[in-house]
Every structure is written in C-alpha cells, then in structure tokens.
C-alpha cells in the first residue's frame, strides 16, 4: 500500500525536492521490507527510457537558449539537461515504487484479498492465471525459437531478416495457445468451475489496526498531494 502511494507521489510531484523525498521514502520502505537487493533489475529496466529522456530533453528542449555544446545539427542545453535529470528522478522513483509493490506483495495474498472483497471467480482466475503462466509462456517461446533455429532460421542479422523470422515464431505461439485455451476451458468445466455457489475461502489475511491506519493514512496523503498539485499550493524548489 505504501508502495502504491509512493508511485502516485512520484508520478505527481515535480521539481527537485519532491522526487528526492519520494526516492528516499521508497528506499527506506525497501530497506525495511528487506527487498533492496532485488530492486536492481527494475532500475536496469528503466535504463532505455532514462537514456531517451536524457537525450531528447538535453538536445531537443523547446525554446531553451543556454547551449552546452553542439553535436552535428543538435545542440545540448542546460535547461534541457536539468529538465532531463528531474524527469529521470521521477521515472526512477516511480519504477522503484512499482518494484517495492511487486516484491512485497504476494499475488496469492492480493487475490485472496480481492476475492474476499467480492471479486468474481472468473476475474480472480484470469488475474491469477495471467500472473502464474508468464514463466511458462517464456519457456514455451524459448522452445519455439529453438525449434526454428534448429531448422536454420537465422535470428541474427538485419531488420528485414528478423521481421521475416517472426511468422515461424508467432504461428506456433498463437496456435498452441489457442489449442490450449480450448482444452483448458473443458478441463475447468470438468472441475465444476461454473458452479453457481460462492467459492469456499481457504485463507484469511490478517488485517491489524496498524495496517488499517497506514492504509487510510496513505490514501489521505495521496488525495492531499493531488489536491495540492492541482490547487497550485505545492511549489517546492
């Protein structure tokens, strides 16, 4: 919950202080939750985005006239660079908030919670299956790529080659998934998935007073920051 709030903050706040405060909060939460070490992949995942933000803002900031230097037709500006750094901070803070959420929230807990709040069994199944089948989809994609490479498909080389190589990979992926959906539907029916009764709950999540205070407190904080941003009261340096 705290992580979601932080993500909201990261998205909303501007300037320097805001993102830095959020970043500090995120790191503190991660340390408390003991997941700080596993956050590196998430930071790396933002790298392409960060690079493009840096390049576009630094070189192409509209109406900036304080050049640092020129490469070919492009001129880097100080205004652009500063804007880029600010944007980068926000992106990283946002990504890390998402990371904390993903690393601290068990999908089963989330699903159990949503179910107890009245989420239908179909919706629950779709979310649960989507989350759990991702690793298997990746595995299957690997097998398909292997099978076609074994038949001489060259996955290295220019863009045209690569595009030509997509069909032999996408075909089996789609057709085997469709085939599986059909069998899966039958298998679910054969396990009484469409029974009209309410599903038996097998786990109850603890929900202490402290947790409730933090949850409502966080929610209130988001509302405040949103209001402040739109009301123009929040003008940090």
């Amino acid at each position: 919950m705290i992580a979601v709030t932080e993500a909201g903050f990261a998205f909303l706040v501007r300037g320097w202080t805001g993102p830095l405060v959020v970043l500090a909060l995120v790191l503190a939460t991660a340390l408390v939750a003991g997941v700080s070490r596993r956050m590196l992949p998430f930071v790396l995942a933002t790298l392409p985005l960060v690079l493009s933000i840096m390049l576009i803002n630094t070189f192409l900031f509209p109406g900036a006239h304080d050049p640092i230097g020129t490469i070919g037709p492009f001129t880097a500006t100080w205004t652009g660079l500063l804007a880029a750094l600010q944007a980068t901070l926000r992106v990283v803070a946002f990504a890390l908030s998402v990371a904390v959420f993903a690393l601290t929230t068990d999908t089963d807990d989330l699903l159990t919670d949503l179910e107890q709040r009245g989420l239908g069994r179909r919706a629950e199944f779709v979310i649960g299956a989507a989350v759990r089948t991702v690793p298997r989809m990746i595995e299957r994609a690997g097998e398909i790529v292997d099978a076609q490479r074994a038949r001489g498909l060259d996955t290295q080389g220019g863009p045209i080659r690569r595009v030509r190589g997509v069909l032999p990979l996408a075909g089996p992926m789609i057709s085997s998934s469709l085939g599986e959906v059909e069998e899966r539907t039958m298998a679910l029916e054969a396990r009484a998935f469409t029974a009209p009764t309410r599903r038996t709950a097998i786990r109850h999540l603890p929900d202490s007073l402290g947790q409730r205070v933090v949850r409502w407190g966080s929610f209130a904080a988001v509302v405040l920051v949103v209001a402040a941003t739109f009301g123009g009261w929040l003008s940090l340096p």
């Binding site: 699903l111 069994r121 039958m186 054969a190 009484a192 097998i202």
Partner: protein, 276 residues
C-alpha cells in the same frame, strides 16, 4: 449403476461428417474398460462424449443417448456432470488451473468451486493425496513437479469432486516409464478400492492388458472390435486397425510361424516377478 452409451453418433459443430457412428458401450462401477485405435479413429471424441463435455461444453450434435447412472448427460449442467464423471486429458499441464501455488490448493480447486464447507474441502484434499500416495507433494508448486507427478495431481484434482466414473484420454502418452508406472498403479488401485468405473484410452497395449478386463477398438468412429481384453489384443486384425499388439502376442505369433508353439500362460509367467 453404469455409464452407458447407446447408439451414439456425434459430429462437431460446423462439420458435416460424424466422428462417431452408432457406438454402444457400458462401463460398470469398479470396472476398467479400455479403448484403442489409430490416431484419427475418434478416441478423444469418444472421451468427451462419454464425460458429457460434448455436446455440453464443446457443442456439436449428438444422436443416441449417454447416461450416467440412468441420468442423461445432456440434462445435467457442467458442474453437476463434474461430480458424476471426471475427465483426465493427455496433457497434465493444461488441466491444472494454473492459479494455485501448491498441489494442496490445486486439488482444493474443484471442491472450493462447489462451495463446500472448509472442513469438507480439507477432508477431500487429504483423501485425494492419500489415495494416490502423493502426500509428499502437497506443498510443492504444481507447475514444477515431474510429468508423472503432474498427471497424478491432475487425477487427484478430478477425484476430489468424487465422481463415480472417470474418463481418461491417453493419460500416460506424455510420460516416461516411471510416470506410466505411477499412473497405472494409481488407476488399478482406484477401480479396486474406490469402486470407480473407468474408461481409458491408451496406445500402450501392455498397460491395457494389465488394467482392463474388457476393451474395444475404434476404427473411423465405429467399434471394430469389442470383448474380453485378452481376445481383442490377440485378434489378428489388430495391427491393421492401427494398434500395436502387446509384445507377448507378437512373440507367440512369430514363434508359431517358426513352428514353435508356446502356451500363452507360460509366456505370461515369464514376465511375472521371479520367486526368490
């Protein structure tokens, strides 16, 4: 009390040609009946029809009748059918719900769908684990066990709905010898102790010889051979119908061609465990 198909013909939606023609078949409780045949003979379709999934879930057109303990499958809703006749598919992975993080929860999936009281869900899961002797797997991730174990988990998950009959579509085709042995033992135990009526489609005739007393061979959607398993498996037309005879049958036949006559009972003895 039996699963009975009378004069069953079936065709899939959007097709003209029936896949099954005039099938008569009876599975008593506690009995294992085998089905064999070439790859496109209609075996999988027969499974879907016997379990009521076709036309129920799949659609298509059914002629004749399919009755489970005197109730027509067409008059039952899918969740009611599930409690009368369970169905196990070839691929153990597609029939796992994909949403459970432990084998225990996977087996609980069906009983929970029925909204049974928690105590009964627990009782059924524990009974399922015990019946197939997979208690040790209870806390494992169902997508991270071996093929044979996954098939046992799928079987336990179906059994947790307490069906009186089971329909199995080549349950061992994707398994290695160890997995085949595990599933074969489990099925033999089910029919014997729980009195479940089982219809099993198999290419492995050695397994059919071991599990079933009666069997039939399908050819192009029709029953080509039916009767006592021993007689069907010794039928000279078996191979032409796309079914590899058990090795013992081939041995007896080849030896006879060479002028050596073997007593089938003696041959069978050769495979029995040697007495110490």
């Amino acid at each position: 009390m039996a699963l009975v198909l009378s004069g069953v013909s079936y065709r899939y939606a959007g097709t003209q040609k029936p896949v099954l023609h005039g099938i008569d078949l009876r599975v008593e409780r506690g009995e294992v009946v085998g089905v064999a045949g070439a790859s496109d003979a209609g075996k999988s379709t027969l499974c879907l029809v016997a379990a009521g999934l076709a036309p129920g879930t799949v659609g298509g057109t059914l002629a004749g009748s399919v009755e489970i303990d005197s109730e027509a499958t067409t008059s039952l809703k899918p969740f009611e059918l599930a409690q009368r006749c369970g169905m196990l598919f070839q691929n153990s992975v597609t029939q796992l719900s994909g949403t459970s993080r432990s084998v225990w929860e996977e087996i609980a999936f069906g009983p929970r769908n029925l909204g049974l009281p928690l105590a009964e869900v627990v009782e059924r899961v524990e009974a399922g684990l015990a019946a197939l002797r997979i208690e040790a797997l209870a806390s494992r991730d169902p997508l991270r066990v071996s093929g044979g174990q996954a098939q046992l988990v799928a079987l336990a998950s179906v059994l947790a709905l307490r069906p009186a009959y089971l329909v199995l579509d080549e349950p061992t085709s994707q398994l290695d010898p160890e997995g085949t042995q595990l599933v074969g033992d489990a099925l033999a135990g089910l029919a014997g102790t729980a009195g479940t009526g089982i219809l099993i489609v198999e290419h492995k005739t050695d397994l059919l010889a071991r599990l079933t007393q009666r069997m039939l061979v399908l050819d192009d959607g029709r029953v080509a051979l039916a009767g006592a398993t021993e007689a069907v498996l010794a039928d000279p037309t078996l191979r032409a119908l796309g079914v590899e005879p058990p090795s013992l049958v081939t041995i007896g036949r080849e030896a006879a061609t060479a002028g050596i006559h073997l007593d089938p009972a003696d041959l069978a003895m050769a495979l029995a465990p040697r007495r110490a």
